[in-house]
Chain length 312, copies 2
């Protein structure tokens, strides 16, 4: 379901949780970022066996969340279940690699240890995670389906609205553009003997509109745009800024998304890229994105009272 | 792509690897099972951002692979990347739970240890995995896309064909029934401004036909059937047995798949279920499925020379 329904009890509970957590962050003088990450799932059947998925490992969202915490933000991490998780990226991939990295030390009280030599990034990652946890700087919230994502985004946005311009929305999740309305969905698994499959999907209403206009009108809002065709990229970013009146679009092309992005605002566009040297050193593009957006956020906050006065 | 193309170099390499491994299993007097597990992914665009996915965590395949190794089989585990993996199920879920279970013991040579008290199944699982690995009893092979799955299934089936009736095919993967032929696929990301999305998908040719007729004609072949509508379940299983001439269909309904299945053959049907007591004790239905199929496989092997004589 992609229509925005009245909040479920679970969403109301998340809103309460995020609001209380944000209050603590504000009391500590911290800015807050809501990072959305991973792809949404759209069922094709009511008792669903098949789903439409948007491609996204969640790597960008997870890497950005790490950087934002490091930059002093409290981060609410609204992510697809089992997508890449901040600092867990330092672990070997789930499956045989993960099992191979763990050893049982036999004895009356057997211990399980991880092979830290094979994964040198693991110790610093676990320490950074522990620090973030002790400081309450990371609040993870999970979603799977599109409807769940939309409801939780609304809940979190409303909860962060009292923070005004010190809240950043970093909308890196890959949200489906299409869905099948519940009323048009077959009840049971689509039978393959019925011949070729015809699917008609409706467009998902863009949540940027109510987010910017109603839920958190003073916040600093960044959306992400992924295209495969580089020639339409900046135009699409500008169209989005015109339409939704938010602050920044980070635009990127599928093939080069890990090494280069365009940061587009209404009156500027800036390319951020990794040099060959930085690539060899293992620098991540998210380091540049977050550092750039942090200063833009600062400038936005400083201008904000002025703008509001003007409006009044 | 879902048409079966000539083998790629990667598939030829997998065929070689499985053949060599199967030779070792046979020399040790072991039966071999090919377990397929997890769902396949079907791209909707040539440079794909969107995919059609079949629901499957891979839990059934992974649990069955563990049981089959325990029963003395060598298991080739053809699974969806990042789906549930044998014995890795004992670990906490990926994300904050997994990070929370790991502790850094500081010091000049810092160590990472896992909280074995919180996850009592972890030590025996790691030990069982290690044993399987030392005995070369588990050969994992990964896929993601439908085309990759089909190619690797063919490669593995050909590699196991020399084992004759001592090879079991345990086809638990959730394979897409539909795909978009490459020639009809849009090159770039489908634009949402173009209005509602119309998708027409073709039926995937069933691989059970060539598997049973050509690739491994003497093997013991089990397919799985998942439906949401219980009233058509056994009929659909019988139709499949009639059509593909393989040995067993394990039929199950989405809602009750973890507690009850029907094992259907051409001349019998048998329900396997967990009692409330077994459920409380944490018994898994895969224990019953594997134990039942193991005896059927024995009976099949014993009858085989007779059948072949008759045919000759």
């Amino acid at each position: 379901m992609a229509e925005l329904l009245p909040p479920t009890p679970a969403e109301t509970e998340v809103e309460r949780r995020v609001r209380a957590w944000a209050e603590v962050q504000r009391a500590r003088g911290k800015r807050v970022a809501l990072v959305t990450s991973g792809g949404t799932q759209v069922p094709l059947e009511a008792r669903a066996v098949r789903f439409l998925e948007n491609f996204s490992s969640g790597r960008r969202g997870a890497a950005s969340a790490e950087r934002l915490v490091q930059a002093g933000y409290g981060v609410c991490f609204l992510h697809r279940a089992r997508s890449v998780f901040p600092w867990a990226r330092a672990l070997p991939p789930y499956g045989s690699s993960l099992l191979d990295a763990l050893r049982v030390e036999a004895g009356p009280a057997p211990r399980v240890t991880a092979d830290v030599d094979a994964f040198p990034g693991l110790v610093p990652a676990l320490q950074a995670y522990r620090r973030a946890k002790d400081e309450d700087a990371l609040l993870p919230v999970e979603f799977s389906g599109l409807g769940e994502y939309l409801g939780l985004l609304r809940a979190a946005a409303r909860a962060l609205s009292p923070l005004g311009s010190s809240a950043m929305f970093y909308l890196a999740a890959a949200v489906s553009d299409f869905y099948i309305p519940a009323s048009e969905m077959p009840e049971h698994k689509i039978q393959s003997v019925d011949g070729p499959l015809q699917i008609t999907m409706k467009m998902v209403p863009k949540m940027l509109s109510p987010l910017v206009k109603e839920w958190a009108p003073e916040a600093f809002v960044i959306s992400f745009k992924l295209e495969t065709n580089p020639s339409i990229l900046v135009d699409k970013a500008r169209q989005a800024l015109e339409k939704y009146r938010h602050q920044v679009v980070v635009a990127n092309v599928l093939d080069s998304r890990r090494t280069s992005v365009m940061v587009v605002t209404r009156d500027s566009e800036m390319q951020l890229s990794l040099s060959d040297e930085e690539l060899t050193q293992g620098v991540e593009i998210e380091e540049k994105i977050v550092s750039h957006l942090e200063s833009r956020h600062t400038a936005f906050m400083e201008k904000q009272p002025l703008i509001r006065k003007k409006v009044i």
